[in-house]
């Protein structure tokens, strides 16, 4: 049965057959969007440009645990039957390397040539709820203050976001604890829930914006039945219950502020390799450094902004040495920022519970475990370390 286009408004629920998903991709491509979505490459599901729905990792899922990531065949042909991989969307909005300006010297004159904000429009297909939150968090960093990052702003404004609600809980996910998923609550143009039941394979669609509704209205949709709506909703709420990890966030800022000297930091320092993997895979980590280059004539110079990590020694270097020279201090800085001081700076947590830092840590350090350990024991605020009394 082929359906005709159906006019939908924001929040309307409608059904799109799985075989028609490609029409969404082609529609966006026709509108001038570069469509980026999940695809299988080198044993992982990564985000790349999609030419068609054929590029999606149909029938694949992942197994994730601390320091472990494996792709595995599913028994069905689900297109989004996996959790998040090593990539996050930040690389397309906040690129890993970006030229800030070129400088030109001519005698005693110096001229700075600005960069033009990029023109390319992107559509992200398959943005998970945690990732929508991560994008919103980076929005606060780059757009929320008195100074706006023009490159980020330009990329962000042209972005079309297609969310996919999670029907699979990854092995390291804990978005339910962070209140950031598994259902996309806001911030999307279109949200999809992939449903496979009684031999049928379709997407429950919902527009979050007018332009989302406009795009959906050009697709062959059917009105959703209440039963279909119920099935889709149940699948997402089941995911929340199957979440493998939890984090208790009650009073978490205060927990960190009173535990700068907790012995657990020494413990984690023994395991942490300060490899910076966690900061690179984290969808909210935004830190950058700058690099300057000059050509051999000395007349042209460029300044580049590149992703950086608070796990490097250079990160905190000031004349005389690095402020955070121990791995203990660097891990403490990262986690304290992510879960506590981020709230002071931006009004939200810096963690969305995606679990990437757990999966991609070569030492399998699990922040949910670290938080639990901080809550248990440790010296009370202001308590001095004491010696042990021994027999004479």
């Amino acid at each position: 049965m082929k359906s005709a286009p159906l006019a939908v408004k924001r929040s309307d629920k409608a059904v799109l057959q799985a075989e028609d998903l490609d029409m969404l991709i082609q529609n966006l491509r026709k509108r001038g969007h570069q469509v980026i979505g999940p695809t299988r490459r080198e044993g992982a599901i990564v985000y790349e440009e999609l030419a068609s729905a054929q590029n999606l990792p149909a029938g694949w899922t992942d197994e994730q645990d601390g320091g472990t990531y494996r792709l595995k065949r599913r028994t069905d042909g689900a297109l989004f039957g996996y959790a998040v991989g090593p990539h996050s969307w930040k690389e397309f909005v906040h690129p890993p390397a970006q030229r800030l300006y070129r400088a030109r010297r001519n005698g005693k004159q110096v001229e700075f040539l600005p960069e033009t904000p990029p023109a390319a429009k992107c559509a992200f297909l398959g943005v998970r709820a945690c990732e929508l939150n991560a994008i919103a968090i980076q929005d606060r960093v780059f757009l929320g203050g008195p100074v706006v990052d023009p490159g980020y702003q330009s990329r962000r404004q042209q972005l079309f976001l297609i969310a996919v609600n999670c029907t699979v809980a990854g092995g390291t996910c804990f978005c339910a604890s962070m209140n950031t998923g598994p259902k996309a609550a806001s911030g999307y143009d279109v949200a999809l829930t992939e449903v496979m039941e009684s031999g049928r394979h379709y997407f429950m669609t919902e527009a979050g914006t007018d332009r989302g509704a406009e795009v959906l209205s050009q697709l062959p949709l059917q009105r959703a039945t209440s039963r279909q709506e119920q099935i889709a909703a149940d699948m997402v709420s089941q995911t929340a219950r199957r979440m493998a990890r939890q984090m208790d966030t009650t009073g978490i800022e205060e927990l960190f502020y009173r535990n700068y000297e907790h012995p657990r930091w020494d413990d984690v320092a023994k395991r942490c390799l300060t490899c910076a993997n966690c900061t690179l895979v984290c969808p909210t980590c935004f830190c950058t450094t700058v690099e300057d280059t000059a050509d051999l004539t000395g007349q042209h110079a460029e300044r580049w902004r590149k992703w950086d990590s608070c796990f490097t020694l250079d990160f905190s270097y000031i004349a005389g040495g690095s402020v955070r020279s121990s791995s203990r201090a660097r891990y403490r800085q990262w986690l304290t920022h992510k879960l506590a001081t981020w709230m002071d700076q931006f009004g939200t947590s810096g963690c969305v519970g995606c679990g990437r830092c757990i999966t991609w840590c070569p030492a399998a350090i699990d922040l949910t475990e670290e938080v639990r350990a901080l809550r248990e024991g440790g010296p009370a605020r202001g308590a001095a370390p004491t010696g042990k009394e021994t027999k004479p």
């Binding site: 400088a103 203050g145 950058t288 902004r305 402020v323």
Partner: protein
């Protein structure tokens, strides 16, 4: 708590990372490793407005960019000044530049000394080493409106007599009847006729009324730590002691993350903080 998405409307702001070409009008060597520049926009004199305590990002062509506090008089409308100590790659490259050379300037950035809020009070300025540079604009502003303040005391500590910054100006200030200037050095040969001892030793007997005083402190972190302790022992409340913090800084606008200091960004929330805001982490190792 899940954040909501909010894409801000385009603000037709200039690129915040793009420097303005500025020309060095004059270079003055202050000490063996410290020099002062007088700068002007390369395309002609223009008013450069800043608040005492703020800093600029100075870019040396092809080498790099560093945060340097502004050391000039805020009343100077023709040019602005930076006093820099050559200790790193960029600051050493800066030292090679001469009058007429052009560099890139972004700024001003950061918080200011509470000059307005200090009206009606005694003001105690405690500076150590190069820390006198960011306090110089504050002192200029205080002296420009001298009648609004009670006693003004400048306590300055340097390593040796040869390391004393702005010696002629200090001498001139010392001659003023309405300003108490005390300078001390950590070590000296016997030709030095001034104080020897760390700057904190000047605090117990300095002439100010602790209950009605505001303190402005800038210097190495360890010096500030002991200075704050002495000021508090004299009875100045933590919220009336202001310290200037330093951390690695790449962007000065809160994007690069390098200058995080506990819950603050030094570039946006600092560099100058009332002490009670940083008290809980001040002096903690490796924060």
């Amino acid at each position: 708590m899940a954040p909501t998405l909010e894409i801000s409307e385009p603000k037709a702001a200039a690129d915040p990372m793009l420097p303005v070409p500025c020309r060095i009008r004059r270079v003055r060597n202050e000490t063996a490793d410290t020099f002062t520049w007088e700068l002007q926009p390369a395309d002609g004199p223009a008013r450069f407005a800043f608040q005492p305590g703020q800093f600029n990002m100075l870019y040396v062509f092809g080498v790099g960019e560093v945060p340097i506090s502004i050391s000039g008089d805020p009343a100077d409308t023709q040019s602005f000044r930076h006093t820099t100590r050559a200790v790193g790659v960029v600051t050493r490259a800066m030292r090679q530049l001469r009058a007429g050379d052009v560099l890139g300037v972004r700024g001003p950035f950061g918080s200011a000394w509470p000059i307005e809020a200090a009206a009606g009070r005694d003001v105690v300025i405690v500076a150590g080493g190069i820390g006198l540079a960011p306090l110089r604009p504050a002192l200029c502003r205080l002296l420009a409106q001298r009648r609004r303040y009670g006693r003004i005391v400048l306590l300055y500590g340097a390593r040796t007599p040869q390391d004393i910054l702005f010696p002629h100006e200090l001498e001139r200030w010392r001659g003023k009847f309405d300003l108490e200037v005390q300078v001390t050095v950590d070590r000296s040969a016997d030709t030095w006729r001034g104080n020897v001892g760390v700057v904190t030793t000047l605090i117990p007997c300095a002439p100010f009324e602790p209950a009605n005083a505001v303190a402005l402190v800038c210097g190495p972190e360890v010096m500030m730590r002991y200075t704050v302790r002495e000021l508090q022992r004299r009875g100045i409340a933590a919220d009336r002691i202001h310290v200037s913090m330093e951390r690695n800084m790449k962007c000065a606008i809160g994007f690069c993350g390098h200058c995080q200091y506990g819950p603050a960004f030094i570039c946006k929330d600092g560099p100058i903080f009332p002490f009670d805001r940083v008290e809980s982490i001040f002096g903690k190792a490796e924060v």
